[in-house]
């Protein structure tokens, strides 16, 4: 069963050990080459924390489960700091085809909550298969022209 970024946004992060809520899901961080979710950002601003995907024990429809509080850590490098600040957020990012036409912003991302693999992007009602993706950058997401 697929999940979506917009639906998952704000979902609570719960410790399996203490059953306490540790925060709310703010961003999903995607690795452009592997085309999968590599980390989650919990909370906003200076207090935003990062959870590596390996430390997610269950990405469920109502809560994201982690072993305990130690799964959350402050951003460790520039990429994680950018992610924590929401600068790597895919939803809202401009989409360009490889022939240079603007297709509009990404409105949602479809992914497999078990593996973290990205399956497709939504541009309004249009679904673009992840296989058409050529690159993800700070300026734009690039897709094959056949996806136009």
């Amino acid at each position: 069963m697929s999940d979506r970024f917009e639906a998952a946004s704000g979902r609570r992060i719960v410790s399996r050990t203490s059953a306490e809520e540790l925060g709310n899901l703010e961003h999903l961080v995607v690795d452009a080459k592997g085309l999968r979710v590599t980390a989650l950002v919990v909370g906003k601003g200076r207090r935003a924390l990062v959870v590596d995907w390996e430390h997610v024990s269950g990405f469920g429809p109502d809560a994201v489960m982690v072993a305990d509080e130690s799964a959350l850590h402050p951003p460790r490098d520039d990429r994680e700091r950018a992610a924590a600040g929401g600068k790597l957020e895919l939803v809202g990012q401009r989409v360009l085809s490889d022939v240079g036409n603007d297709l509009g912003p990404i409105t949602d991302v479809v992914f497999d909550p078990t593996s973290g693999v990205i399956e497709a992007f939504m541009i309004d009602d249009r679904e673009v298969d992840a296989a058409a993706l050529l690159g993800i950058g700070s300026f734009a997401v690039i897709v094959r022209a056949s996806a136009e």
Binding site: A32, L96, S97, D98, V99, G100, N101, D102, L134, G135, I136, G137, S138, F139, A140, V141, I142, A145
Partner: protein, 186 residues
């Protein structure tokens, strides 16, 4: 449908890497070769707050496509220093600018003066026509034939061109194929 744009509307477009999704420069100007009938390269400006001329140029061979909203390249290595670029891009000969040149048919009719080149979108810079100021003082568009004499001040075009002067780019798009078909028959 053919999508056509004028050279001036390419200026300012971001130059974006396909693999990285980064805007590494923006188009400063189009380097056009009237003999080749195509854009041979682009000069560049820096992006963002550091705006200003970029020393690197972008030869047409390195352009993946000139689009409606961006110029796409494989990666940042496509931007090269003028001394490493083909001569017609690195050090374009002066006096090659066709802007302002008179357009004369083989039969000696003046169709007007060149204002800009018209580029086929989605290519590396194929020029399919010219935007001209017509003798009547209006804006017109003429298709470009491959066989074309060029001097410093005038372009000689086939007589048939006079029948294919159009009022807008959409009209030119339709005229290009028809014009080329007619020339091939003769």
């Amino acid at each position: 449908m053919r999508l056509l744009v004028t050279g001036s509307s390419i200026r300012g477009l971001p130059v974006v890497t396909i693999g990285g999704g980064e805007d590494v420069a923006e188009v400063r100007d189009v380097i056009y070769s009237p003999e080749a009938g195509r854009v041979v390269g682009l000069t560049l400006n820096k992006r963002g707050f550091l705006a200003g001329r970029c020393r690197e140029v972008l030869p047409a061979e390195m352009i993946h496509a000139i689009g409606r909203d961006a110029v796409m390249i494989d990666d940042e290595d496509s931007l090269i220093l003028p001394e490493d670029a083909p001569a017609d891009v690195g050090t374009p000969p002066s006096g090659r600018d066709v802007t302002g040149d008179e357009v004369l048919t083989e039969g000696g009719t003046s169709l007007g003066h060149v204002r800009d080149v018209v580029v086929l979108v989605g290519t590396a810079g194929q020029v399919v026509g010219y935007e001209i100021d017509t003798a009547a003082g209006r804006t017109g568009y003429i298709p470009l034939s491959t066989q074309l004499a060029v001097s410093g001040s005038a372009l000689i075009v086939p007589e048939a061109t006079a029948d294919f002067v159009r009022d807008d780019l959409v009209g030119l798009g339709a005229a290009v194929d028809e014009f080329r078909a007619r020339l091939r028959i003769r």
